[in-house]
Symmetry: C2
Subunit: 407 residues, 2 copies
């Protein structure tokens, strides 16, 4: 059957001429089998970081419109080179920038949102038998200013195109073979998942799994675009991210994530009266700091401790802002602890099963791991523990929830 396939290749899949040729061979292979292809690419290797460094040498605070003008060249280089590599194999290909496709965004430079995608140009080129190569991560405002979509923007381009074009498949190629039950570098027994739901993937992404950014999964979920995450270095099938997994109810936990990039901040002896938390977290929000987990215990006295986590690079600034807020309340002590990690279990199955949390705490207790903070969502449970116990915790939970045995 002739299919319309949207594929996206990340920077590591395009890091050098050999890899670009490898991607071209893969794309040509699909074309040879009669499929129509729209290929979205990121910037080669570390190009984006290099351009950011270059800008930093010119200005400490470059205008965002000009950053977008600069960064969008990265993907433009990729589309041109991939189109050349495909031509070299004897297949017709045409490269298009985000502007040329007609990916219309709002004017929020460096983190623009897609407003609509004009599909005419792509349909026209597909009809002419071309493989269409689209620069990911970028679009343009209605005034024809170039915009970029922020982190994970190329995935977003691919998902949005798959939706707009009503593609039969949306493949996200990366340097890992799919989504794993946990990080294989931490637990060798980690298994590649055949399927995972949007919700689980969203939860895992926000808890630290780096396969895909949450944003593009949200869009895929919204429009019900099935995503196939797989490796550009292998022919094995990867992981399907879909609405519902068949044997969903049988599995309590789908994956385990580990995040070592957060710091814990604790405000001690906070007076137990309304408005205090609001004051402090408003201050952090105004400072542009993304607070993650927040835990406040019920108080038996008139005082309580409030703990929260922030990304480690923001920790020093967060402490400063918190101390400022704390001073306005009273002379409260503010502590920072970088020596922590967050281990989380994720699974839609836990919606309908009780006892999953208890099993998690029990498992950690058996390993003599103290839990410093606990936070839960409908389909995940996270514990903050001392960093040195990270790997032990992941392995113990991986075994306890039967993840090494397969679904």
């Amino acid at each position: 059957m002739r299919k319309l396939i949207v594929q996206k290749y990340g920077g590591s899949s395009l890091a050098n001429p050999e890899r670009i040729k490898n991607v071209a061979r893969r794309v040509a292979g699909y074309r040879k089998n009669g499929h129509e292809l729209v290929v979205v690419v990121s910037a080669l290797g570390d190009t984006t970081d290099e351009l950011i460094e270059l800008a930093a040498k010119i200005s400490r605070n470059p205008p965002e419109r000009e950053m977008d003008m600069l960064l969008s060249t990265g993907e433009q280089i990729s589309v041109a080179l991939l189109a050349m590599a495909i031509h070299e194999l004897g297949y017709g290909a045409i490269s298009l920038t985000g502007s040329q496709v007609g990916i219309i965004t709002d004017t929020a430079h460096t983190k623009a949102r897609i407003v609509k995608i004009e599909a005419d140009k792509i349909h026209q080129e597909l009809k002419r038998g071309k493989i269409v190569i689209v620069a990911g991560f970028q679009g343009m405002t209605p005034q024809a200013d170039i915009t970029t979509l922020g982190r994970g923007g190329s995935d977003l381009t691919a998902v949005a195109l798959a939706q707009t074009l009503r593609a039969d498949e949306c493949e996200i190629y990366t340097d890992v073979e799919g989504v794993y039950t946990t990080d294989p570098r931490v637990e060798q027994k980690a298994r590649k998942l055949g399927e995972i739901t949007y919700d689980e993937m969203l939860e895992m992404a926000s808890l630290g799994a780096q396969v895909m950014q949450a944003r593009s999964i949200e869009v895929a979920k919204k429009f019900d675009v099935p995503i196939h995450v797989r490796s550009s270095f292998s022919d094995k099938s990867g992981t399907m991210i879909i609405r519902e997994v068949k044997n969903m109810e049988d599995v309590l936990v789908t994956g385990i994530t580990l995040n070592k990039n957060e710091s814990k901040i604790t405000i001690c002896n906070v007076p137990d009266r309304p408005g205090i938390a609001a004051k402090i977290f408003n201050q952090l929000a105004e400072g542009g700091i993304n607070v993650d987990m927040i835990v406040q215990n019920v108080s038996h006295t008139r005082q309580t401790d409030i703990s929260f986590t922030v990304p480690k690079p923001d920790a020093a600034r967060a402490v400063k802002l918190t101390r400022k807020g704390a001073r306005e309340i009273g002379e409260l002590e503010v502590l920072q602890d970088d020596d922590i990690s967050r281990v989380s279990i994720v699974g839609v199955g836990m919606k309908t099963h009780s006892g999953v949390a208890a099993k998690m705490f029990e498992t950690l207790a058996k390993e003599k791991i103290n839990i410093e903070m606990i936070s839960t969502s409908e389909i995940s449970i996270s514990c903050i523990i001392k960093k040195k116990f990270s790997e032990t915790a992941v392995r113990a939970l991986h075994a306890q929830f039967g993840l090494d045995k397969g679904k």
Copy 2:
């Protein structure tokens, strides 16, 4: 007086962040004095060559449309960085790609011709008080494909913009201080010319002077756009390229050029009958080889020699094609000589003065330099000599025509 000034900065003026900041300071200085500025930039330093090398690793014969997609990123990086650097100095600037300006070209990728320039966007941004930074060397077809203008394309962008916008001045910034009577590396006494005519500059450009490409001078001449060629590393005024120089008639020779990058090819004992030269040069033309000087002596016998010069990189291929043609005529000997150079004198004054050629030959004879080929145009005389005499010839002619003494 408030002026509208078009400036163009070449790659060497933008080779690193310090130089970009230097250009920004210069541009800001003009803005501070109340002028309106449209600044055209080339790609940073060797960016274009690096992109060409990258493409060569992917394909030996990349599609030209994709080359343009690739190469146009070079200027896009430049405009973004220069706009940032100007912002950093507290002035408003906006970068525009060729497409965003509306530089409409034909579809001859890698060597497109400008069809028209939409000036609305630039006027609009100037009215908003912005310094407008335009990516040189690029445009787009009516179908919105990105094109590039070929060698010297950024100069062409500047001259065409100066014409379209009716700019008061068009400044071409480069790494030399202007146009010299001859190459200062060859003759220390070379003088910077205050003025030179379009025709002389055209002749000097085509004879090897590398300040500006002939193409943009032709456009400047056509629309009578005065060009100021000057250095971005100095505040001194440079050379004005204009229609008529006041004291034109008094000066026989304006400049002397030297070109060491040609080879001489001679076909010996060519039968003296019609159609032979046509046959051979058609073959070269079909091979895409640009033949430069052609000399054929009148023949006293039924045979003659034909000599011509080609760019050195094309010489081997030219000899092969010539031998092929020669075989069809008879077994003619074809000789290649790389050990030559061309020295030329240029000046509109020689239009109205006789004896200039004689004086040139006499000067060379005095230095015991043998002349192998002679060719003349209305305002230039070129001699092919042995390469080892190049510098001696230039210096002798420079002195003989009084170029070290000033106009």
